[in-house]
């Protein structure tokens, strides 16, 4: 099956900053793909390049097999984009924003009415149609932006950090909406800086420094992660930090509440436990999660 979205060896620089360094991934119809990574990893640049808003320095972007810049007109008819920044008109109401975008897509009146009613219903914005966009809460604003991006029923939907600045309840709502669309066969690319949201995607790509450092089904990725993960309990915090920093076996150490969480090379748990005992602390095994995986992969990239 031809991928709905494809990034092939994308490279892009802004002055001296290399935003993308050979980014490749693909999203298939009916798939929810998560581009997960910290700020400045290159997520927005990747999305803008795929949407045809930026030219890649080298490499190719493809939307339904088409070049989003050269065949922009055709691509935009079947692509929905929800940018990260506020990009609707704050002084227009929900209704007026929807009508404006509906007319840009030249939807016939009846079609527009039917779709906007449905979208307002599923986003639960129906009671607020007269409210101006800049008077909406973060979650409501994102849902309106989503509705605007879906009016023309795109086959491909790209969302740049849709859950940023959204409360947990609205965040769950947004994800539920995305599942619904994917179930209908849409290809969805969503970017997020939150590692815990990676598990919600069908497939994820961990992006760092402008390229993927891991890619796959979230459960598989965590299961096949061969490093050991421990909680460090007790002991003097700064002594522990110093001891861990001196050990090459420790791939990543991060604070988790009052404790430390460490990711250790396979089979090196014993040596680390000894060092911690010397610092008056003890090691307790923990289940690996996405953040551990990400930190470990990031540290390995830095070494390589």
């Amino acid at each position: 099956m031809e991928p709905a979205l494809q990034a092939r060896e994308l490279v892009r620089s802004f002055g001296a900053v290399q935003a993308l360094r050979g980014l490749s991934f693909a999203v298939h119809p009916g798939e929810l793909f998560g581009l997960v990574g910290p700020d400045a990893a290159g997520k927005t640049t990747a999305i803008r390049t795929l949407a045809g808003l930026l030219l890649p320095g080298s490499g190719q972007a493809r939307v339904l097999g088409r070049d989003p810049v050269r065949e922009g007109a055709a691509v935009r008819e079947s692509l929905g984009l929800m940018p990260q920044q506020y990009s609707l008109y704050g002084d227009l109401s929900i209704e007026e924003n929807l009508r404006f975008f509906g007319r840009l897509f030249c939807l016939p009146r009846a079609v527009f009415r039917e779709r906007s009613e449905r979208l307002l219903h599923i986003t639960r914005l129906s009671p607020f149609t007269k409210r101006r966009a800049d008077a909406l809460s973060g979650g409501m604003y994102k849902k309106l932006a989503l509705a605007c991006a879906l009016l023309h029923q795109p086959r491909v939907l790209i969302l740049d950090e849709p859950t940023n600045g959204v409360d947990p309840v609205s965040r769950r709502e947004l994800w539920a909406l995305l599942y619904e669309f994917v179930g209908d066969g849409m290809a969805v690319l969503v970017s997020t800086p939150y590692m815990d949201e990676a598990e919600r995607c069908h497939r994820v790509g961990l992006i760092h420094g402008g390229r993927l450092i891991a890619e796959g089904v979230p459960g598989d990725l965590v299961r096949s992660f061969d490093h050991e993960v421990y909680r460090v309990e007790g002991g003097d915090r700064s002594a522990c930090d110093a001891a861990l920093a001196a050990l090459p076996e420790v791939v990543a150490a991060s604070p988790a509440g009052a404790r430390l969480r460490v990711v250790v090379r396979p089979g090196a748990g014993g040596r680390v436990a000894d060092a911690m005992a010397a610092a008056g602390a003890s090691l307790h095994p923990a289940d690996a999660d996405f953040e551990d995986l990400f930190l470990a992969r990031m540290a390995e990239e830095a070494v390589a």
Binding site: L53, A73, Y86, F100, F101
Partner: protein, 378 residues
């Protein structure tokens, strides 16, 4: 799927309606568009006037007759001059002007009434303080006009029907009373309209960039030309309101006549507004930032349309390089056409070169802004 042409108009309509809603919701745009021209026209119309009235006029009356007193009264009755010191001889004039005791002096030679009775020309002299060139020119024109009127009156009263050769050669056509408002106001209209129009559109595209809505807009199938036209239309409507407002003010407040065709005036004004709005759009497309766009708009509209349009300084008097530059300033053609239509009643036969130049400029800026309007975010 609808036809491409229909889609073009649907999208342009959507953009224009959206822009109109922005304007309605943000009264500052309306103040800027409709209030600023009025304020500026009033300020400039009254403030930057080269008109001078109540010029202190010293009198050297060597004739001391009924006729000489009538002549002095003529000068004073015009309202342009007020009678100042009476001097005994011409020698006293210069020291008086130097002191600023008077700005002009009227010298009536001995034998005025006798010569008049014989029907001979009488050399009446008016001496001006020439240190303010602009005012002097104006005052000279007034003195000319008054002297001429007085001569006519005297001749009429003397029953001389044969017209003797006129001694006064300066004859201000179209502005017989020498009022500067009449020729200033058309230039002022061009200046005010240029500035406000460029500013209006310069802000609108830059605002979309700054607010981030350009990213969303570019993700839709809307075309660049559609955005440009959709942005121009509502402001063109606003611009037409501006033109009407400014014309009405010119007519009511400054008594500017309307001698030509109002329709032709409308055509000229729409072409000029299109060019200016397009220029603002171009500034906005290039700068992408409201602050920079504002400054770019002001610089590119204010100075040329004030200094190089012929509004204040006649283009014929400019050095060649400036004259060449002024050929690229649309305000120059607008001022020329406006003065022609308003003051002389010119028609298409006289102003077609202006129409051509204005259309050319409008087409050029719209094309260039569309081409420069890159659908890229960086």
């Amino acid at each position: 799927m609808r036809q491409p042409v229909a889609r073009f108009f649907i999208r342009v309509g959507a953009l224009a309606a959206k822009e109109a809603t922005h304007i309605r919701r943000d009264p500052r745009v309306l103040y800027l568009a409709l209030g600023m021209p009025v304020v500026m026209l009033l300020l400039f119309g009254f403030g930057v006037s080269f008109d001078i009235d109540r010029i202190p006029l010293a009198v050297v009356d060597r004739d001391q007759s009924e006729a000489s007193r009538r002549l002095v009264a003529d000068f004073v009755a015009s309202g342009d001059f007020v009678q100042g010191a009476s001097l005994a001889s011409e020698a006293e004039i210069e020291p008086l002007l130097r002191r600023g005791g008077a700005a002009a002096a009227l010298v009536i030679p001995k034998g005025l009434s006798r010569d008049l009775a014989r029907g001979e020309d009488v050399p009446v002299q008016v001496v001006f303080d020439g240190s303010d060139g602009m005012s002097t020119t104006q005052a000279l024109a007034r003195a000319d006009a008054i002297a001429q009127a007085a001569t006519m009156r005297i001749r009429r009263e003397g029953g001389l029907s044969a017209a003797p050769p006129l001694r006064v050669s300066a004859w201000t056509r179209f502005n017989p009373t020498g009022r500067s408002a009449i020729y200033l106001v058309p230039g002022l209209m061009a200046y005010v309209l240029a500035m406000v129009s460029v500013l209006l559109t310069a802000l609108t595209v830059a605002r979309e960039w700054e607010r981030g809505s350009m990213e969303q807009l570019f993700a839709t199938p809307v075309g660049r030309l559609e955005i440009v036209v959709g942005k121009l239309l509502p402001y063109l409507g606003l611009g037409c309101l501006q033109v009407l407002l400014v014309l009405a003010m010119g007519a009511w407040v400054f008594d500017v006549p309307m001698r030509g065709s109002l329709f032709l005036l409308g055509v000229v004004a729409v072409l000029f507004m299109l060019g200016m709005l397009g220029q603002g759009l171009l500034v906005s497309v290039v700068t992408r930032n409201q602050m920079v766009a504002t400054q770019g708009a002001m610089m590119s509209s204010m100075l040329p349309s004030m200094l190089l349009s012929g509004f204040l300084f006649p283009i014929e008097n400019m050095p060649l390089p400036l004259r060449t530059v002024s050929a690229a300033i649309p305000a120059r053609y607008f001022v020329h056409a406006l003065r022609g239509i308003l003051l002389k009643g010119n028609g298409i036969a006289e102003i077609w070169p202006d129409l051509l130049a204005l259309s050319g400029f409008a087409a050029l800026v719209v094309v260039v802004s569309t081409v420069r309007f890159q659908r890229r975010l960086a």
